[in-house]
Symmetry: C2
Subunit: 180 residues, 2 copies
């Protein structure tokens, strides 16, 4: 951020009075521009034993498999975001279950949330941001080609919980070496 | 948002190619400025049977009681945000328990998260944004003077779960009449 989005003047990056972190501050109009983590929300859609995955058509991680998910929008709930992203990325209609995992990804200022979901029909297909959409038996999940660690952990948890016969809610942190 | 934070030119509000929602778009440099929900994270600190509440020294809801919480910062996890906010608002040190509630508040583009927590000592005091900090027996919670509905629901849940002897993880939506 270089310019004030309210008045167009140049901003400086400094600690405002009474604050403890540097912010983008406009010396012309006084606006303080906060930046906060964004939420990426999706679903883990199943049909019987099989799990729906999407192969990414866009960067980052083009060509890798993931669960349908994307940035939550203003004005919607986490559940609405999960249903919308599942429809957009996989043209798939789901009945949403409970929130299943929440992973912090602080090195990219994100929080990833995944809901359990049941496909309502098999009439799915790749959305604009997917190259392919397919159902995978747990034994056939392409573990080495999963796009994001939060999604790999979620799938891993799901397979373990399914084998154990009980699903909970799981939280965790994805921490890169060299980051706190 | 009126001006581009990258180049300072005026932005327009329109649907970018390939998108489905209007965004603030810079016609000069091409930047698209997304706006997404923000997360408000806090804790429910207990000492034996009693619950710590803070009386707000700032708007909105100045003078009303709430759990220590605030906007999550870039670079931190939800748990780190909960511990930090508890320290800032109540000068209170806690051992954090599991994530306890997540409420969507779509009419203000927020998601509110509260962790269960145990106070490590009784050496708490009002932080800069609090008028008062106090411990309440469940029977004495000032229900009519709680600042936010997500916090009232969280406290309500906590008292019920405590009486029931089992705490889960709870999600919900705070929906205003006239909003979807």
């Amino acid at each position: 951020m270089k310019f004030c989005s309210d008045c167009g003047a140049r901003v400086s990056f400094r600690v405002p009075p009474g604050d403890r972190l540097p912010r983008h501050v406009c010396d012309a109009c006084g606006a303080i521009h906060y930046q906060n983590p964004r939420m990426v929300v999706g679903s883990l859609p199943v049909w019987g034993e099989r799990i729906l995955l999407c192969r990414r058509a866009i960067e980052p991680r083009l060509g890798f498999w993931t669960l349908p998910s994307g940035f939550m929008e203003n004005g919607e709930t986490t559940a609405q975001a999960a249903v919308r992203e599942t429809l957009e990325e996989a043209n798939a209609r789901v009945e949403l279950g409970p929130m299943y995992t929440l992973y912090n990804v602080p090195h990219v200022d994100q929080v990833h949330i995944v809901y359990r979901a049941t496909l309502l029909d098999l009439d799915f297909s790749p959305g604009e941001e997917s190259l392919d959409v397919a159902l995978f038996d747990p034994a056939d999940i392409p573990w080495n080609d999963i796009a994001f660690r939060s999604i790999r952990h979620t799938l891993d948890r799901y397979v373990a919980d399914r084998d154990g016969g009980s699903f909970g809610f799981h939280t965790g942190d994805i921490v890169l070496p060299g980051h706190n």
